[in-house]
């Protein structure tokens, strides 16, 4: 699914490498907890895994293809086809309805639209139902939702069209404990149900127990120890 070899990444204008990772591998349909303190390069690694950033050296292979060998447009298309993303917050376009937000990946990727069970709209409704969002909210603008509700919609959006990889960047840090546990259960459950690999990033090690695999970025990252 994902394999990283001799990865080095330096932000433009920076004087030292941000990431220097010898190797790691993520199998299909696994759930991975990636943790480390703030500023250790977690988001940068996610950008590299999702093909938004390209490493200066080394390989990041996703589904057997190194991101660096693809031109920008192809990387964007590939990401749209195979990757779902949940951010910490502000996941939704506030002026679109909840339903339209969930359908966004299908607008950029024909593959995601095709992989929906039934029509994309039907798949979106079914996902919204599964993440427990009341039906009367579906046509409201996303801006009208609470933070907890927005994260559920974001999860539904990341999962629509069954992408092979779901990336979640601290998706629970804006939620209180009760909401956080609900959301964790939902995200893990849905990813396992659809067979997606989940890469979940957090600085909160208490969440680690529920995952198949745990990776500590400070341990992986040779640049941090220099």
């Amino acid at each position: 699914m994902l394999s990283v070899h001799e990865l080095r990444y330096r932000w433009p204008g920076a004087s030292a490498d941000c990431l220097d990772i010898a190797a790691f591998e993520l199998p299909d349909a696994s759930t991975v907890f990636l943790y480390g303190p703030s500023g250790c390069g977690k988001s940068t690694l996610l950008g590299l895994l999702a093909g938004v950033l390209v490493a200066q050296s080394g390989r990041v292979e996703f589904l057997g293809q190194d991101w660096a060998t693809l031109p920008g447009g192809r990387r964007d298309a590939r990401r749209a086809d195979h990757v779902g993303v949940v951010f910490q917050q502000f996941n939704l376009l506030p002026y679109l309805s909840v339903l339209d937000n969930v359908l966004l990946p299908c607008r950029f990727s024909a593959r995601r639209a095709q992989r929906c069970v039934g029509s994309p709209a039907a798949a979106a409704r079914s996902l919204l139902q599964r993440v427990g969002l009341a039906q009367d909210l579906w046509l409201r603008p996303a801006a009208a939702l609470s933070v907890g509700q927005q994260q559920r919609v974001a999860a539904a959006r990341a999962l629509i069209g069954a992408p092979e990889l779901v990336i979640a960047d601290e998706p629970t840090s804006a939620l209180d404990t009760a909401l956080r546990d609900d959301f964790m259960a939902l995200l893990l459950g849905e990813c396992r149900a659809s067979g997606a690999t989940l890469v979940f990033v957090s600085h909160d090690e208490r969440l680690a127990a529920q995952f198949d695999q745990r990776l500590s970025l400070p341990d992986l990252n040779l640049a941090a120890s220099r």
């Binding site: 938004v52 964007d76 990401r79 749209a80 993303v85 951010f87 502000f90 376009l93 607008r107 959006r157």
Partner: protein, 430 residues
């Protein structure tokens, strides 16, 4: 692609308040630019059409521009006159159809007084050979009985509130508007017998009297001042009729030919006239020369409207750039669901194009409405006929320039967003 445009539309609708202001400012700039351009071409047109149907203008030897200035536009004064003998000699030339002498120098409350013959009203033409039309009353008779009759241009009658039967007094020389400094011909008042229809030419600002009347009011004057009462020579208005009132000199003459082909022939004849130094100019050529001088003001107008357009386009860029930071999250979301940096660029450029296009179209409509509604008023106030017709080539050019500049300007924030989204990675680093 269509999904992207749909999102662009929804996003723009979400920020409609700010965007409406940008559209408004572009619309205002476009309207100003197009109206100024219309004004510029129409001023030029009314200027070029100040005289037509006259083949040559003849005066004392001076510069062509100066001759046009005083003979046609009634600005400034002649340095010397031409003799009536010369005028008669020109009239006798076999290629000449008609000659209308004009005599200038007096004024009425700041408006030029033109001494001429009744033939002036049938021979003089403006615009596309449009003749003068008497709106009220009649032209002066040119006989001794009707010696003190005056025909007013449209603007004179309107500005002074004069109508038929009004008694007016002419002032000697070109005095200020109130005539305070000029000696007046108070002993020989004129009666208004006719008012001309508006033409948008200097005729509107002229008072027309007969050549004989000008002779009559100057009978007891010497060297630009009335003879002092001590001299004991005063000639009443009534008595003036007993004198020989045939003018010896006039200021200039308008000449019409039997055929255009002879124009250079006659011009050579006049320029080479031996009895006194004369000059004949072709009105069209001299008008072009004159316009070249006045063209500076025209360029200033154009430069000003260009600056206005520049400022409003700069405001478009500023508004979009200022909104970019708050849109970074939106763009990050779009990138996360599969939009590439080029989609982001397209999104912003499409919005800029729409905003500019809408503003430009609204501005053009506004300009057309303004010309349509204000046209009659401008014609009345300034004598400039604004044509509300189809846009000129230059107007189309300006319209296209606004559109092109607007789209280019919207690429500036687009490119910045492109670079930001490349550097941001998956989530905005702020």
């Amino acid at each position: 692609m269509s999904a992207l445009l749909h999102i662009a539309a929804r996003s723009a609708y979400n920020r409609r308040g700010t965007l409406a202001l940008v559209v408004l400012s572009i619309a205002l700039a476009t309207a100003l630019l197009l109206t100024l351009e219309r004004l510029r071409t129409d001023i030029r047109a009314s200027f070029a059409l100040a005289v037509s149907g006259t083949d040559l203008v003849v005066g004392a030897r001076t510069g062509p521009v100066q001759l046009m200035l005083y003979a046609v536009f009634r600005v400034g004064s002649a340095t010397s006159n031409i003799g009536m003998d010369s005028v008669r000699a020109i009239a006798a030339h076999r290629a000449v159809a008609w000659v209308v002498p004009i005599s200038l120098g007096d004024s009425h409350r700041g408006r030029a007084v033109v001494g001429t013959t009744p033939e002036y009203f049938t021979r003089f033409a403006y615009g596309d050979k449009q003749p003068l039309v008497v709106a009220k009353g009649r032209v002066f008779s040119g006989t001794l009985d009707g010696l003190y009759e005056a025909v007013l241009g449209a603007e004179v009658a309107r500005a002074m509130g004069y109508t038929l039967g009004q008694r007016i007094i002419l002032a000697h020389g070109l005095a200020g508007l109130d005539g305070a400094l000029a000696a007046e011909h108070g002993d020989k008042p004129f009666t208004v017998v006719g008012v001309l229809a508006a033409t948008g030419t200097p005729v509107d600002r002229s008072v027309h009297v007969s050549l004989q009347a000008l002779e009559a009011i100057h009978l007891d004057w010497v060297g630009g001042a009335p003879l002092p009462a001590s001299a004991g020579i005063t000639i009443t208005a009534e008595n003036a009729r007993k004198f020989d009132l045939e003018p010896k000199q006039v200021t200039a003459a308008l000449v019409g030919l039997k055929g255009r082909a002879a124009v250079f022939n006659v011009q050579r004849f006049v320029n080479g006239y031996e009895a006194e130094p004369l000059m004949a100019v072709l009105p069209g050529v001299a008008l072009d020369e004159l316009w070249a001088v006045l063209g500076l003001g025209e360029k200033a107008l154009l430069a000003m409207s260009g600056l206005v357009a520049l400022v409003s386009l700069a405001s478009l860029v500023a508004v979009v750039l200022a909104g970019l930071n708050e849109r970074r999250r939106e763009l990050a979301v779009l990138r996360a669901v599969g939009a590439g940096p080029r989609h982001v660029l397209l999104l912003l450029a499409a919005e800029g194009a729409w905003v500019t296009g809408l503003g430009a179209v609204l501005g053009a409509a506004g300009a057309a409405l303004a010309v349509g509604f204000a046209g009659p008023w401008v014609q009345q106030q300034f004598g400039i006929t604004l044509s509300a017709g189809a846009p000129t080539a230059a107007q189309w050019g300006l319209f296209a320039a606004v559109l092109a500049a607007g789209m280019l300007a919207s690429l500036v924030p687009g490119l910045r967003a492109y670079r930001l989204s490349l550097a941001d990675g998956l989530s905005p680093r702020t």
